[in-house]
């Protein structure tokens, strides 16, 4: 296997074929929430709705807990997990506030001031212990 040249970017999951394979059922569940009738069914009984998707116990737990970062670590992709967030009334920007741990207000403030700067955010080595 060739080495992945994008694995040293901090705070980032690159959704490649390996992640796509791992997250397949999770992502298929998320995209099902695009349709109102499925949202209604899911919101009426989350556990029962999730039974239809053979995801791992860990993925299922992350869905139920709305653990947004763990969903990504377990093969979820942001365009899919954002459908679950939309179901909960959370838009892309507020979701980013949650995933970064900054909170909605601080995150919005950062964006208004030009966003997260690139300097210091290119390589994992620049982030020290954190990934």
């Amino acid at each position: 296997m060739p080495e992945k040249d994008y694995e040293d970017i901090p705070g980032t999951f690159v959704f490649d074929a390996d992640r796509s394979r791992e997250g397949y059922h999770l992502n298929q569940f998320c995209i099902s929430l695009r349709l109102q009738k499925n949202r209604d069914e899911f919101n009426a009984d989350e556990e029962k709705y999730l039974d239809k998707y053979p995801m791992t116990a860990e993925q299922r737990d992350a869905v139920l807990k709305r653990d947004w970062n763990r969903l990504l670590a377990l093969g979820g992709n942001i365009y899919y997990t954002s459908k679950l967030a939309a179901n909960d009334g959370i838009n892309f920007q507020n979701l980013a506030g949650l995933m970064t741990g900054m909170g909605v207000e601080k995150y919005r403030e950062m964006m208004l001031h030009g966003g997260r700067p690139i300097d210091g955010n290119r390589y994992k080595t620049e982030w020290g212990d954190e990934d």
Binding site: P10, F92, T100
Partner: protein
């Protein structure tokens, strides 16, 4: 003969569509975003295309994870705006130039680009937001001012097609369009970007200098720009910034030398740097 007169590069941030749909474009947050499209709307009226060949990506809306075509060409008669989880956008159905689309599909495949052909497809904000910003508000009962041929590119699952492949595809699209024996004014749109990351702890990344350099290169040295490797987009412009490969299809469809008639850049729209450029074929 059909001819390509101009190319448009343009972000397709969903929140821009929401701002237009909820009529808050005059708010201080949004005004600078929309001010930069005032020229463009006038320019669109003056240069009225018959057809837009619109390169965009689907954001896990029409395509789920079960099938991931790298290049999918819209051949259906029309395309409904999709429900992306908060109801479909209140904009008109998108109508195709179906004959030209079939001609392009056939030409591209014989030109060795192995296209997927879509005879049924809904379209998401990736396609409708560029139309909205360039044409202004159009009510769902009205019609878009021109026909649209969609080309959906996979940029969600890594790897997206390379910048070079996109640039070469643009050249093949031009050969296809210019061999269509009806006089049509065709514009090519490349959409997505600019720098943005929507996910995980580095979300919110913006790289103004990199974006500006990308726009400069796109105009002046498109071949060099087409050689930018994926890892550079991911690292420098954010994981979702890789959408910018789609701009190379647009650039490839234009002359080597073009006239940049308009540029707009603003941070932020939601999580994203908004970029926009209009390039004219001088000889056209």
């Amino acid at each position: 003969m059909a001819r390509i007169t101009a190319g448009v590069g343009c972000s397709h941030v969903p929140a821009i569509g929401v701002a237009m749909d909820t009529k808050i474009t005059d708010q201080p947050y949004w005004k600078p975003v929309f001010d930069g499209f005032e020229f463009s709307r006038k320019w669109m009226k003056e240069n009225k295309p018959d057809v837009i060949f619109l390169v965009y990506n689907d954001h896990c809306t029409a395509f789920d994870a079960s099938c991931i075509p790298t290049f999918a060409l819209g051949a259906a008669a029309e395309f409904q705006p999709a429900d992306e989880g908060w109801g479909p956008r209140p904009v008109p159905v998108v109508k195709n130039h179906q004959k030209l689309a079939s001609h392009i599909a056939q030409s591209l495949i014989l030109d060795e680009f192995d296209m997927t052909i879509m005879n049924e497809m809904e379209v998401d904000h990736g396609l409708t937001v560029p139309l909205s910003v360039m044409f202004g508000e159009v009510s769902p009962e009205d019609e878009w001012p021109c026909l649209v041929i969609p080309l959906a590119v996979n940029v969600v699952q890594y790897p997206a097609p390379t910048g070079n492949r996109c640039y070469q595809l643009g050249k093949a699209v031009r050969r296809a369009i210019e061999s269509y024996p009806v006089d049509l004014n065709v514009m090519v749109f490349g959409t997505g970007g600019m720098s943005h990351q929507l996910q995980y702890k580095r979300a919110g990344l913006i790289n103004r200098e990199w974006d500006q350099r990308f726009l400069d290169l796109l105009t002046e040295d498109p071949v060099f720009a087409s050689q930018i490797p994926h890892v550079e987009y991911l690292r420098e412009a954010g994981s979702e910034g890789v959408e910018m490969v789609m701009w190379h299809v647009m650039r490839g469809a234009l002359d080597d030398e073009v006239k940049e008639v308009h540029r707009h850049y603003h941070v932020p729209a939601s999580n994203t740097a908004v970029g926009h450029i209009i390039l004219e074929n001088v000889a056209a």
